[in-house]
């Protein structure tokens, strides 16, 4: 490799590092998480196997036979070596040997049955109380015992004399595992939840309306400020640029203040006898109006700057020519200015679609998806699912799967845009000058 190449690589490496850390690694992690069932319940480290009341309920929910579940849950009395050793220590070798030789491996469903069997032995303890106690030494249960591995659990269950088919074994270990596992269920699950579809619709609406609002407003501002005297125009642009440099939280707070039931709108309309209400969260439609306005106004400032400079780069003489050709202001805008803004407009649309798809901070801060999920968009849903769940059970896996869909849509859209724009062309030739 030539030295110049190394130098180039050297200059590029910060960018590569940033891409790696801020794009590739997060995407890879998202892909990874999206194929797990990680949640608050499973934790993100490993888990264990434990049969308890809750896991038995889960087991029957998962479709295990009732008899199987019942057997697992019941305590049993099993004559095994451990019990015999204990019995030898408590009630003498003789009793132990007799139990060992006659009953080893037998299983009893209740203590009464075992006691009855003991009573048939010659060297049994004399008192009924001791027989009861001896029987207790053989009580075996897998309930509420933690096993680190699936093998340990299965051994213990079979050790209790419970027979299982391979299907049952798999069902058991899968269902009662408390840690996370690899799975592709998240995607199927997403398609099944009607709410997800509603959110997808919301997202489309959000992108289209906000884009229309910001491009429309941006164009309007760029054109009107173009025709204003330059001092006034600069002031105007500065004011309209304000929302973009204002911290998001403060900007949204001002909107909230405008919309609160004790805020500006309510106070103002109160004078006309309109009862006060929270104008932002009153109805879904209201919430949408605010979402589109908040995002549209922020987006418009970028459009204004971009369109404004594009208009300025239209040669003066071309505008003069259209005037002496008889074009009115409106015709000048329609036939001379707008056609030459085609590329900036397309660029803003492309750029904004991508950023709108993934950005949710203004919605989070203003309506938080409300009222009742009316303004929940995809990225916000992913955030809610994975990191900010009402129910308290954060579903990292499902949330990651949702986020992954956004990544895929974003990449596809970028590819389409690259095709439409043919960015090489765009860079090679100025689109405004002849």
């Amino acid at each position: 490799m030539r030295r110049a190449h190394l130098l180039g690589l050297g200059f590029l490496s910060p960018a590569l590092a940033i891409i790696l850390m801020l794009f590739l690694i997060p995407v890879l992690l998202t892909v990874m998480f999206s194929f797990t069932n990680m949640s608050t319940a499973t934790g993100i480290s490993g888990g264990a196997y434990e049969i308890n009341a809750a896991s038995l309920r889960k087991l029957s929910d998962a479709g295990a036979q009732e008899s199987f579940v019942e057997t697992l849950g019941k305590e049993a009395f099993v004559v095994d070596d451990a019990g015999i050793t204990a019995a030898a220590a408590a009630y003498g070798e003789q009793f132990a040997n007799e139990v060992g030789s006659q009953m080893l491996g037998e299983r009893f469903d209740s203590r009464r049955d075992l006691e009855r069997a003991f009573r048939k032995l010659k060297s049994r303890p004399r008192s009924t109380r001791d027989i009861k106690k001896a029987a207790d030494l053989f009580k075996r249960s897998v309930l509420n015992v933690r096993f680190e591995t699936a093998g340990g659990l299965l051994d213990a269950v079979t050790g209790n004399g419970i027979e299982m088919t391979p299907d049952q074994q798999e069902l058991l270990t899968k269902t009662i595992y408390t840690g996370w596992t690899w799975t592709s269920d998240n995607f199927a699950l997403m398609a099944q939840i009607p709410y997800v579809w509603r959110v997808a619709g919301n997202t489309l609406m959000y992108v289209v309306l906000t884009l229309a609002a910001s491009v429309g407003l941006g164009l309007f501002l760029a054109i009107t400020t173009f025709y204003l005297p330059s001092g006034t125009a600069t002031t105007f642009r500065a004011i309209w640029f304000f929302p973009r440099i204002l911290p998001n939280v403060i900007f949204v707070l001002m909107w909230k203040w405008l919309a609160w039931d004790t805020g500006f709108l309510s106070s103002l309309l109160g004078n006309f006898g309109v009862p006060p209400r929270n104008w932002m969260l009153d109805t879904g439609a209201n919430a949408w109006v605010f979402i589109v306005l908040i995002n549209g106004i922020v987006g418009a400032s970028l459009g204004m700057i971009l369109f404004g400079s594009a208009i300025k780069s239209i040669p003066q003489s071309m505008l003069h020519a259209s005037e002496v050709d008889g074009a009115s202001r409106w015709q000048q805008i329609r036939y001379i200015i707008l056609p030459q803004l085609r590329w900036p407009i397309m660029f803003i649309c492309a750029y904004s679609t991508l950023s709108l798809l993934t950005s949710f901070e203004y919605i989070l801060l203003s309506t938080d998806g409300g009222p009742g999920g009316a303004t929940e968009v995809w990225s916000l849903m992913a955030f809610h699912t994975a990191l900010d769940n009402y129910a308290g059970n954060l579903q990292y896996g499902l949330g990651a799967a949702m986020a992954l869909m956004l990544v895929i849509v974003g990449i596809l859209a970028s590819l389409v845009y690259l095709r439409i724009f043919n960015f090489n062309d765009l860079v090679a030739k100025p689109r405004i000058e002849q």
Partner: protein, 352 residues
């Protein structure tokens, strides 16, 4: 249509660019606004078409006062210096634009575009974009766009500046042909005196926002009112000799040579500084009033040869002669001035 500019003043901020200009352009006349860069030619043109508002004065088209009429309503066709074609429209759409904004019917537009395109010989280029045209073709498109709605007045702002020498020659006669064919009143802005002289009926020479002389090309060439005008017209340009009045003659500066003064010139008193202007065609070997010097520059132009002769006092005279004269650089020569063609100018530059 007759154009009258009366006491026109234009200023940008504090700087007054045009002051108290009056100019009358006859119906069907083609007038050149000629002057050095920055003298206010374009400003005058833009005031006529309404792009610039006049700070003071009146503008009349025919008998109508259009001072306050917007540029859209003046019905003036303009060809801009850089043509200002609309890059996103093809040639047809460019030419049709003035009709389109007036919402004329399709058939009508079609007919008129075809007609005007034939007039300027671009009938087969209608589907091209401006970028796909040569400079001369773009220029014709701009002309067609300016002419399509039959304007009362045609304004041309240095329309030939961007063209190469050959094309410029071609378009010169082309524009004049079209102007004559349509009988339109036209104003041509240029800083090329050849263009002005060859294309226009009259020339208005401007300097620093004022018209210094308004006349026909021939009259202006032969009777310039000032040294500025004399220096502006003619290629190769006129040569000036500095000197003083001595004994009713012209004493060259730093020299003992005294030249007789042509008849009919009123000289100031003895010792007053004056200037003689001698055009190259009037400094020839065959003329009687000899001055001697050394050939200091030779330029062979094919059909003609151009010489600079440096006199003993350092002044330079130019001569243009038919080819085959064959003088060489450094040669000592003694050539003559055509005495009755000499132009004399006073110390303020005005013609004596």
């Amino acid at each position: 249509m007759r154009i009258s500019i009366e006491n026109f003043t234009k200023s940008f901020g504090d700087t007054t660019v045009i002051e108290d200009m009056s100019l009358e352009i006859g119906d069907g006349e083609m007038l050149a606004l000629l002057g050095p860069s920055g003298c206010g030619k374009s400003t005058t043109l833009f005031a006529i078409c309404g792009i610039h508002r006049m700070n003071a004065g009146r503008l009349l088209f025919g008998d109508a006062d259009v001072t306050e009429v917007s540029s859209q309503k003046r019905n003036v066709g303009v060809v801009f210096q850089n043509y200002a074609l609309y890059p996103h429209m093809n040639v047809y759409e460019n030419i049709a634009f003035p009709l389109k904004v007036r919402k004329e019917s399709r058939a009508e537009v079609d007919r008129k575009v075809q007609e005007i395109a034939d007039l300027v010989h671009i009938g087969e280029l209608l589907q091209r974009r401006p970028v796909q045209l040569s400079g001369g073709q773009q220029q014709r498109v701009a002309l067609a766009r300016a002419l399509i709605r039959k304007p009362d007045i045609l304004l041309l702002d240095e329309p030939l500046a961007n063209l190469d020498a050959k094309l410029r020659l071609e378009m010169r006669s082309e524009i004049r042909r079209i102007q004559l064919a349509t009988g339109i009143t036209a104003v041509l802005v240029t800083h090329d005196q050849v263009e002005a002289m060859s294309m226009c009926d009259r020339i208005a020479i401007m300097d620093k926002g004022r018209i210094v002389q308004l006349s026909t090309p021939k009259d202006m060439y032969e009777n310039p009112s000032s040294a500025f005008v004399a220096g502006f017209l003619g290629n190769p340009p006129i040569a000036f000799l500095e000197g003083t009045v001595a004994d009713g003659g012209f004493r060259l500066a730093n020299s003992r040579v005294t030249l007789p003064v042509p008849s009919g010139i009123e000289l100031p008193g003895d010792g007053a500084p004056i200037r003689f202007g001698v055009r190259p065609e009037f400094f020839q070997p065959g003329n009687p009033l000899k001055v001697s010097g050394k050939v200091s520059f030779v330029e062979i132009q094919g059909r003609e040869e151009l010489y600079d002769v440096t006199l003993e006092n350092g002044a330079v005279l130019r001569s243009i002669q038919a080819q085959s004269a064959g003088f060489r650089l450094g040669e000592d020569v003694s050539w003559g001035i055509a005495q009755d063609k000499v132009l004399a100018f006073g110390p303020d530059g005005n013609r004596l």
